[in-house]
Structures are given as structure tokens and as C-alpha cells.
């Protein structure tokens, strides 16, 4: 069709005799004695922060310390939904910037993150959900974000797969429709950031846990690892699922409860569902990946746990509701289920920026909404570290907000159930 679309980048693989390998993730090296910035955690947020530190601020003497394998935590476990249809102006502005960065990320990183605009539907089955949907739509529209409250006729037209019948426990009354809602390949986002950060000099050390922090006079000086202590000018912790544990090493507590969030995928199917469907009342969401798998999840587990074990009850509850929405899937099979650990905050907004420890920064409280914020977190945390002052977009998300009763209430838009 259009020559510009031809995947010419693949030609070399066909014509070269030897596979032209490109090491996206660099080989491990020796740890240096000192880095300007040490980032604890090697997930999407950490990698994005390293990338923007190098690209936007010229800070390249940066080291990422990952206790397991690269991006193997929640970056690997989320269901890859991207949207900006939040409830608070603070949230909407923040996630809208993330979405803007996401749109061009494949080109920025020269790594295809398979960003796919699908349209995001938050179904409302109750009066209360209709109210919240309209509230979100109004806030979104006021801030220039494409969202609309739509009614059953329109839902049926846009998303013909959905069961719009009245003959179910919770009929669909309407939906918050957010056309820019997208999905992407979650791993690719992390790998792309890792590859380009590494090219600019950032070191990535996998299998390197941080076992302690070196803090003197309220100021962080470095970190301890089984491979030895490392000096650091500044330290960022970006360790979703272990946030409280690492913060405890820095000597402070957080308003966070760590709770598993489970998800599952179906066997691969030919494409039939283009949209991202979310139902808060039914506690389910579903989209179909580019591999053809239905990617599904619900709300967080009923109790706190530092484990990624799976439960059967999760699947039973999820699929019961799923078949109310999409009754044609009865014979489809679940291929795999898994869990991540969500750091839930009281107001369903993140905790970002400065901490009680000088030169120690935090990127946390990512609950169930971390993946969609990856680029903007990287950008704003890099700014915050480079300037030792919070970026404008993250000021509302400070740790201090709880101690001053200034929460940013996103519960209505951030949790699947509310």
C-alpha cells in the first residue's frame, strides 16, 4: 500500500548471513563505587526515569538495581490498559500527559510498543455508576480529554459484542466512553526504555537486591547490596509491591497497603473484540491483545499479601460476570492466571516526589494504575530528581498530602470496583 509503511527494518534479518543481534538489555558489568543517581527497582517506572534523566537532563551516571529480572514485577503482570479518563483534575492532567507520551513512544524509543488505540468503555449498571461516569466525562471534557457519557443504543452500536439485554442481574444503563483508551505491549515499554537508557550510559544490574540504605544526618548517601555498597548522590525507590519494605529501610512509613491484584488470559482467538470493556459494578475488565488472547481482570484481592499466588475464587467471580457481559464466551478457555502486588493508597492516587529523607525520592502508591503512568512518571520523576523539586504535575501527589488532609480522591475512577 503505502511505501512508508513497509517494514524495511526487517530486510537485514533476511539478507544478512549472521543474525544482526542488537543487545537491547546490556550485559551485566561490575558495579561502580558511586553513581549520581541510584534507582532501586528495575521496572517500567524506574527504566523510564533513567531514560528521561539521561535524555532530558543529561544525567547518565545512573544505575538501576533490580532484585529479580528486568521489569519482572508489576510491569510484567499488568493488563496494559492506557487511559486518561480520571476523576480529579490533578489525575486527568497527569494521565493525559502520560497518554500523550505513549502515543509517540514507539517512535521516541525506536522500539515498537504495539500501542493500539481501542476505545475504552466503563460500563455503568447503577445510578451511582451513571453519576460517576458523568462526573468523569464532565471533568475530562473540561480539561480537553475525549470522554463522553453514552447510552445503551450507542454502546450497542460501538460495541456489538456486549450483552445489552435487560434480562441480567445488572443491566447496562450507560457507559463512560473514552475513545483514546489504548493498550500496549507492557514488556516492550520497559525494554524500549531500558535499551535507550542503556545506550545513553545508564547501567542496569539485574539480580541485585538493595539490602540497606546508607543515610547520614537525614541525607541518603548510598545503598547496600550483596555485591557491595554503592555511593549515590540521589536515590529513587520505584519498587511497586515492595514499597513499604524499602521505605522502612529509609526510615519512614507510608499510607499504603499491599494487596494482590489478579488477572488471567484466554487461549488465543481470532480478533473479535476491539474495545476495552470495564465494568466497575461487576468488577471485571477485558480487552483482546494483539496475540488474540482475552486479557481479563477485576478488583484487588480481599486482603493484603506480599505474594503473587493465584486463587480459584478470583476466576470464578470474574468469569461469572464476564459471561453476563459476553455470553458467547462460555466455551472459551482460560489459559493462564497470575497476580501482581498492588500498593493501594487511601485516595487511589500515587505518592510521588520528595520524602522525609534528603535526596531520597519515591515513586509509589501505584495500586492498579501504574502501567498507564509509566512515561509520565519517568518524565516527572526525572525532573524531580534533576531539580530536587517536584514537577508541577506531581505536586498534588506528595507524601505530605495525607498529613495535611489534602487527598486526591480517585477512587471513583481508579479502582475497577468503587
Amino acid at each position: 500500500m503505502l511505501p512508508a509503511f513497509l517494514p524495511t527494518g526487517l530486510l537485514k534479518y533476511g539478507f544478512l548471513k549472521k543474525y544482526p543481534a542488537f543487545r537491547y538489555i546490556p550485559k551485566a558489568t561490575e558495579l561502580k563505587q558511586h553513581y549520581d543517581v541510584v534507582i532501586i527497582g528495575g521496572g517500567g517506572h524506574a527504566l523510564a526515569t533513567a531514560y528521561y534523566l539521561a535524555r532530558n537532563h543529561g544525567i547518565t551516571n545512573v544505575c538501576i538495581l533490580e532484585r529479580g529480572y528486568l521489569a519482572g514485577g508489576n510491569t510484567a503482570r499488568n493488563t496494559a490498559i492506557i487511559r486518561s479518563n480520571y476523576l480529579t483534575p490533578e489525575g486527568v492532567k497527569f494521565y493525559e500527559e502520560s497518554l500523550r507520551l505513549y502515543r509517540d513512544l514507539s517512535q521516541d524509543l525506536d522500539f515498537n510498543i504495539l500501542y493500539s488505540e481501542r476505545g475504552h468503555f466503563t460500563l455503568a449498571h447503577t445510578d451511582a455508576a451513571m453519576r460517576t461516569s458523568r462526573w468523569r466525562a464532565e471533568v475530562n471534557k473540561h480539561l480537553g480529554v475525549n470522554s463522553e457519557l453514552i447510552y445503551p443504543d450507542e454502546i450497542a452500536r460501538l460495541c456489538p459484542s456486549l450483552n445489552m439485554s435487560d434480562d441480567v442481574r445488572y443491566p447496562i444503563l450507560g457507559a463512560l466512553y473514552h475513545p483514546p483508551g489504548s493498550i500496549a505491549r507492557h514488556d516492550a515499554v520497559a525494554w524500549g526504555y531500558a535499551a535507550r537508557a542503556a545506550q545513553m550510559g545508564v547501567e542496569i544490574h539485574q539480580q541485585t537486591p538493595v539490602t540497606g540504605l546508607i543515610i547520614q544526618n537525614g541525607k541518603v548517601k548510598g545503598v547496600e547490596t550483596p555485591r557491595g555498597a554503592i555511593g549515590a548522590g540521589q536515590v529513587l525507590q520505584a519498587v511497586a509491591g515492595m514499597t513499604s519494605v524499602v521505605a522502612k529501610m529509609a526510615g519512614f512509613k507510608l499510607p499504603i497497603r499491599t494487596i494482590p491484584l489478579q488477572a488471567c488470559v484466554s487461549v488465543p482467538l481470532k480478533p473479535f473484540l476491539d474495545q476495552i470493556i470495564v465494568s466497575g459494578s461487576l468488577h471485571v475488565y477485558v480487552s483482546q491483545s494483539s496475540r488474540g488472547e482475552l486479557v481479563m481482570g477485576g478488583s484487588t484481592d480481599p486482603y493484603g499479601l506480599y505474594s503473587t499466588r493465584s486463587t480459584l475464587d478470583f476466576k470464578e467471580g470474574l468469569l461469572g460476570h464476564m459471561l453476563e457481559l459476553l455470553p458467547m464466551l462460555g466455551e472459551v478457555k482460560i489459559l493462564r492466571q497470575w497476580a501482581g502486588m498492588a500498593d493501594m493508597t487511601p485516595d487511589f492516587s500515587p505518592i510521588m516526589g520528595l520524602t522525609p529523607v534528603e535526596n531520597y525520592y519515591i515513586d509509589s502508591g501505584w495500586g492498579t494504575w501504574g502501567f498507564k503512568a509509566t512515561p509520565v512518571c519517568g518524565k516527572t520523576m526525572a525532573y524531580t530528581i534533576a531539580n530536587n523539586a517536584p514537577h508541577e504535575l506531581i505536586k498534588p501527589f506528595s507524601y505530605e498530602r495525607f498529613l495535611t488532609y489534602s487527598q486526591v480522591g480517585e477512587k471513583g475512577a481508579a479502582s475497577v470496583g468503587h
Binding site: L254, I256, T258, S307
Partner: protein, 96 residues
């Protein structure tokens, strides 16, 4: 499905219970600054390890205390809340 041993009802499926979070005894609010009070209200230990926490058996509305390992999900033991909260709490000025 995990089984939890309710001190009142014996072992039951954990789906019959509701988690109440860590046992965080309330400090004397008259002795705390506003900030300290906010810390009590909002901050959590969120311990990775054995934690003493509230659980409620929903069908019988019975609150009790469990010690649970939040890394392994092992329920170490459960016992009535009265073993921790042994006597009546009064607030200054309140009539008994």
C-alpha cells in the same frame, strides 16, 4: 481457598471473612499533635512478615485477631480480640 480458624466458629473458608487491616491501637488523641494524629490515621506498617490483624467472620459478625504471615499467607494463629483489648476504654470526660 484458604481456611481460617475462627475462634468462635472453627475452621471456615476464608471467603466467609473480611479483613480489617493491621491491629493499630488508637493512641490518646489528646497527647498527639495534629500531624501525629494524621500519621496514626493514614500511615500503615504494611509489614512483610507476621502481622497481627483484624478479621471478621461475616455470617456471625465476629471480630477477632489473627497473626498471619503476609509473605507466605500462612495463618499462624487466631484468637479473640479480648486477649489484646482486655479492659474497657474510656475517654476523658465521658460518663461511664
Amino acid at each position: 481457598m484458604k481456611i481460617m480458624n475462627c475462634p468462635l466458629n472453627g475452621p471456615r473458608n476464608i471467603s466467609e471473612f473480611v479483613w480489617g487491616g493491621e491491629v493499630k491501637p488508637m493512641p490518646d488523641e489528646t497527647k498527639l499533635s495534629d500531624r501525629e494524629w494524621a500519621e496514626y490515621v493514614f500511615l500503615e506498617n504494611n509489614t512483610a512478615g507476621v502481622v497481627r490483624e483484624w478479621w471478621c467472620h461475616v455470617p456471625t459478625s465476629y471480630w477477632f485477631i489473627a497473626e498471619r504471615n503476609t509473605i507466605t499467607d500462612e495463618i499462624v494463629k487466631t484468637y479473640p480480640a479480648s486477649e489484646v483489648f482486655k479492659s474497657r476504654v474510656d475517654f476523658a470526660g465521658a460518663k461511664p
